[in-house]
Point group: C2
Amino acid sequence: MQNSGSKPCSCPSLKLREVASMYFTAVAAFLVILVVALQGSVPQQSHFPYKVPLDPQGLLELSWNVSYAEQAVHFQLLVRELRFGLLFGMSDRGQFENADLAVLWSDGHSSYFGDAWSDAKGQLHMDSQQDYQLLGARRAPEGLYLLFRRAFSTCDPKDYLIEDGTVHLIYGILEEPVHSLQAINASALHGGLQRVQLLKPNISIPELPSDMKTMEITAPDVVIPSQETTYWCYMAELPEGFPKHHIIMYEPVVTAGNEALVHHMEVFQCTAHFDSFPHYNGPCNSKMKPDRLNYCRHVLAAWAMGAQAFYYPEEAGLAFGGPGSSRYLRLEIHYHNPLVFKGRRDSSGIRLYYTATLRPYDAGIMELGLVYTPVMAIPPGEDSFTLTGYCTDKCTQLALPAAGIRIFASQLHTHLAGRKVVTVLSRDGRERQVVNADRHYSPHFQEIRMLKEVVAVFPGDELITTCTYNTEDRSRATVGGFGILEEMCVNYVHYYPQTQLELCKSAVDPGYLHRYFNLVNRFNDEEICMCPQVSVPQQFYSIPWNTFNREVLKSLYGFAPISMHCNESSAVRFPGQWEKQPLPIITERLPEPVPRCPPAPEPQPAAPVPLQLDQLR
Amino acid sequence: MQNSGSKPCSCPSLKLREVASMYFTAVAAFLVILVVALQGSVPQQSHFPYKVPLDPQGLLELSWNVSYAEQAVHFQLLVRELRFGLLFGMSDRGQFENADLAVLWSDGHSSYFGDAWSDAKGQLHMDSQQDYQLLGARRAPEGLYLLFRRAFSTCDPKDYLIEDGTVHLIYGILEEPVHSLQAINASALHGGLQRVQLLKPNISIPELPSDMKTMEITAPDVVIPSQETTYWCYMAELPEGFPKHHIIMYEPVVTAGNEALVHHMEVFQCTAHFDSFPHYNGPCNSKMKPDRLNYCRHVLAAWAMGAQAFYYPEEAGLAFGGPGSSRYLRLEIHYHNPLVFKGRRDSSGIRLYYTATLRPYDAGIMELGLVYTPVMAIPPGEDSFTLTGYCTDKCTQLALPAAGIRIFASQLHTHLAGRKVVTVLSRDGRERQVVNADRHYSPHFQEIRMLKEVVAVFPGDELITTCTYNTEDRSRATVGGFGILEEMCVNYVHYYPQTQLELCKSAVDPGYLHRYFNLVNRFNDEEICMCPQVSVPQQFYSIPWNTFNREVLKSLYGFAPISMHCNESSAVRFPGQWEKQPLPIITERLPEPVPRCPPAPEPQPAAPVPLQLDQLR
């Protein structure tokens, strides 16, 4: 055995792999522990309320908790089948290059833990400052538990800054022994990524009424299709004569064993314009799906992997049932099945908690950001182009009650080119508060997120939503619109008390855009047809995208007046003049957040931590 | 005495001042010392090769040395008449707000030293990290010597980063006792600023030849006018038949007592186009000054306050004398006399060291940057607008020898709106080296500076000079040109071997600028006369400066082709096509320098250092 273990590993073969595997099993039997530098209060390290599978097979399972007092995250990683170690870490968008990694590796004899970073080629390097702090490791029947801690901000330039919003977690499996951390190339490993909101808000759970009832909207024994991506649609309905209730909470119901496959789920209410909707239970993109299901788009509940139960604030609930609202509900489940498992059965869904004792306020949902129109476009080949949508003082003055509204949750939305979304509240020209920000936004991870702080919005306030897009892989302009290759910039804010204002969005004035087309044509001596019958997308597609045309488009969007949609519904505007409105003027910006670097429990040396090969009691 | 000292100081009167002064004299008699935490090698702290008066009376005299090994500056401040203390420090442009300060203060009983910073209102605060490290204080017949040390970079956000180029030093006098540092408002004090190049290059002095001779070009017993600013002109001439020599060094000759008044001096050679020039000795702006003196503009030597002797590299010298060069020289002295002293006599000037044994190479001077033309303009109200001038690969390919040239010194030049100047060398589209950079450039302090590293420039290289301007105090556009309210962006580089290339500068293509004028007019619906007879400055002056017009001008300058001046002299271009040239493409920028924060001799506590009231032996 010892001999096999010391064989050179530079020419792996099936045989060597088997031998090494046997050897490592022997090593693993002895494996572990030692609690290294146990710090902080015990509860912080023993209670992990959040959990997510990292890989599609569920062999790696991450649990964590967040200590805002310590400004740190405690991780518990369950490794069900340990080979020669693994990588776990974070990077800007889930790539394995330029990533910040905690590494557990074995050379076949000993195991080590260390904080590392990968360079632009994926090559690993030991970090000079060890900020993933190993707190312990424990063998259990189900696998190896690794416990470690990481401060949000370390001020080490090689470390990832843990911020609000999406965090792209990555993992990689070491399938052969490695003699040093430097011998690992992260890009060459079997691995993957998982998106989570790591910094969950610390919200106290409101008291629930005694007359609370539950209703499960679940898929009826679906066979998950053996393909990577499926959006499954199932129609449910409320009992006839179901009176108005308040949804005050909801939570996921995930079939045991499918935790790694159920990516996200949403319950939509259908429009009251139709008296009835057909039944359906099948893929959302099937030709068999009745067209009428497209009229079921009013979000009642939304859940994504890693999210927990969603509680409404104690003063408000989401109305459903009663006259004027549809009895029909559509459940949509996104199954993510990259390993193409066959024949998996699933009955996941969402459990609604509701009450007939109505709370003081109905909750509402308002759309902020950009109107869905091609006049807002992104040139091709941009690595970070921003578009901004405004909810102006004039609109909030008209549509909000004097006592204001309270925004308590937010769901950010773009199509595939979206990379960042931020909404800021401005009052009297001064930015006051970030409503919601995700600097690592992914269109593949659109949760409804509770805000850490409820945002009060008063008449005259402005809500400014900025989206950042990447179009490096595109050869023609990306225009605004409904298509998946067109773009949106939306923040669905959840608030109370409900008002008539459903949309507060903007787009550039079309007349100014026309001047832009004229201008770039004249400037570049291009023969582009400016005939009025040519559509805005066609005009964008025909622009020769040099730096001048790109920059002047940016300048246009930053200067030209806007057309406001200050609407009661998608088609009905509030009365007033909403064309050629001036852009909000911002005289004072919020300062960029400066990462705090808390004096963490004494920084550890830049050396791997050996794990004692000794069975823990 | 004790009673007088403890009188409240909130209502100062002449009487109280006198009493306080008497009291402080008594205190001062005891004043000082204690060497606090003496660190580093003794020579670093005892030898101060650089010296500059801080105030116009010369009551405060600063000496310093630079340790590149320690990345620190050691200061010795001589205070000739100490009252109740003083402030000394640095700020971005010499303002007393947001400044980084070392403070010596007395409450009438005890004296303290501390590192402080002033906020946006000038109010002082003790710095949480004490980075001005007091090394000692010493009483001498001429005054009190304070010795202290400061690292270039402290990574304390409240501290000034000491960089290459100009540093704005500030000082303030405490004329009354203060009970705490927090009681001081820097803006309310009697004080001033002095510009110096703090980080002098560490250059070894070349060996000087035995046949070296000297020649003093000095003003003949001038009575310094009793006004703040005087540019004095004096014509000198070389002996008839003076053959070609090489100037290999020069140094200032400043009349004793006038060190604080002589701000800068330059020796210019006149053009050889005229056989003779009239004598003159008087103010440069006098109506009596012969016009012909305007043809004496070829710089032979330049010195500014704080500068030392200037040595040519041992392979090169600046040619003067001999056929084809004028015998006539013009000395220009800038007297800065803010206290309006009357009747001060001065015979300052420059001493040239020259040799008849010619060195291998003649040194030359080349102009990089922007052509003097109104097509390059800065909108009004800009806090930092940049303009860039190019010396293209095509020009260096044609005009430089295959073995290249060596740039060893540089003089940056703008008019009054200039705030920063940087020249970068680019090769094959990649920025390689900063030729010279001054992020705190002041048009009032234009030294010839030796480069820390000689820069080799080869055929095909590009030299890109970027100037940053502030026009916040202007209401109309600032165009390029010769006037003091027009702008320039020039780097006079001193190099060898001399070539025929005297000017390598650019400006935007005038046709593209015309398109810009058309474009902004159409876009803004403005009625601006585009008639060809309207001059470029007039067109710039009539632009309504909204954000769109500003940004499109920036985009134009970053995109439009350029007209190159690749010239043998200001009027003669090298043969070739120089109009509508493409802008150099930069694919790789130099990284922004990251300040190192050397683990300085243990950081000191955020508390004032009391000075022992004990006479030093």
